[in-house]
Amino acid sequence: MAVVAQRPHALRDIPLHYCPGCTHGISHRLVAEVLDELGIEGETIGISPVGCSYNNYDYFNCDMVQAAHGRAPAVATGVKRSLPDSVVFTYQGDGDLAAIGTAEIVHAAARGENITVVFINNTIYGMTSGQMAPTTLISQVTTTSPYGRNAKDHGNPIRICEMLATLQGPAYIERVSLHDIKHIRQAKKALTKAFRLQREKRGFTLVEMLSTCPTNWGLDPVESMNRVKNEVIPYYPLGVFVDCEKEG
């Protein structure tokens, strides 16, 4: 009998601390599978964010560096400019990347920093108990938008891929979703491409993954997947925003 699916080597065999049904676990596995399949675990350095995945340095088998909240792209820059032949990825939540870390992601992208950013957009601050993120949808209720986000007071949610796509540094930007099998597979394809392009030194790559936070959404895991499909994707269209292979 052949193995159809099992824990990838790049993911260490310890329990994950995430809430039941949280898609952080899925994206972890996908990243690990790509490291396995491209055979790059040994040359990879991952940067952990501050957010629910703050300690994924325990989960990945490659070398890992934990970064200050929002600063993973700067830390990644420091690592990559020190070890230009390594593979460097950041793993960042939407609070981490789209709020406090805005300057760092914009400038890493603008510089065309040769790193891969795995961007987990669950439209909320998971770790600190469900505050509004820059990505929170209009009328979504959070602990800091208890009456629902409204455009007048809070502005409209930021679409990071679209914004970064105006820069010339990025080699590849795609938005994917983790809400069902088909999309999970597409997510993995996108990740694979991003890491491959990095190895080819093509520049900055980013994969945004629409994710869930069942706990702070107040929904069960399956309902959460449905929310992604029905509410999140309509605002955050899936697709490729930059592809250096298409343009060149």
């Binding site: 159809v4 699916a5 099992q6 952080h24 895991p221 399956v222 997947m225």
Partner: protein, 68 residues
């Protein structure tokens, strides 16, 4: 025939595998609790499994190994 193995202590009974199984053969084991306090998922009629791997693809906790 396919074989699906659950690492039951790791299961958090999130229900995602249950929701994607095309054969609807995964269930939470209401009779037992793992140390974390969850009723772990398990397959009832293994013979119906087609080894599609959907359950493992969506499981956030690497609970499931699928062989075919």
């Amino acid at each position: 025939m396919a074989k699906v193995t659950f690492f039951r202590e790791r299961c958090k009974n999130c229900g995602l595998c249950i929701s994607v199984c095309p054969k609807k053969i995964i269930l939470a084991d209401r009779e037992s609790l793992n140390a974390k306090g969850y009723h772990p998922a398990h397959v009832l009629q293994m013979e119906k499994c087609i080894g599609c791997g959907f359950c493992a693809t969506i499981c956030p906790d690497c609970v499931i190994t699928v062989e075919k």
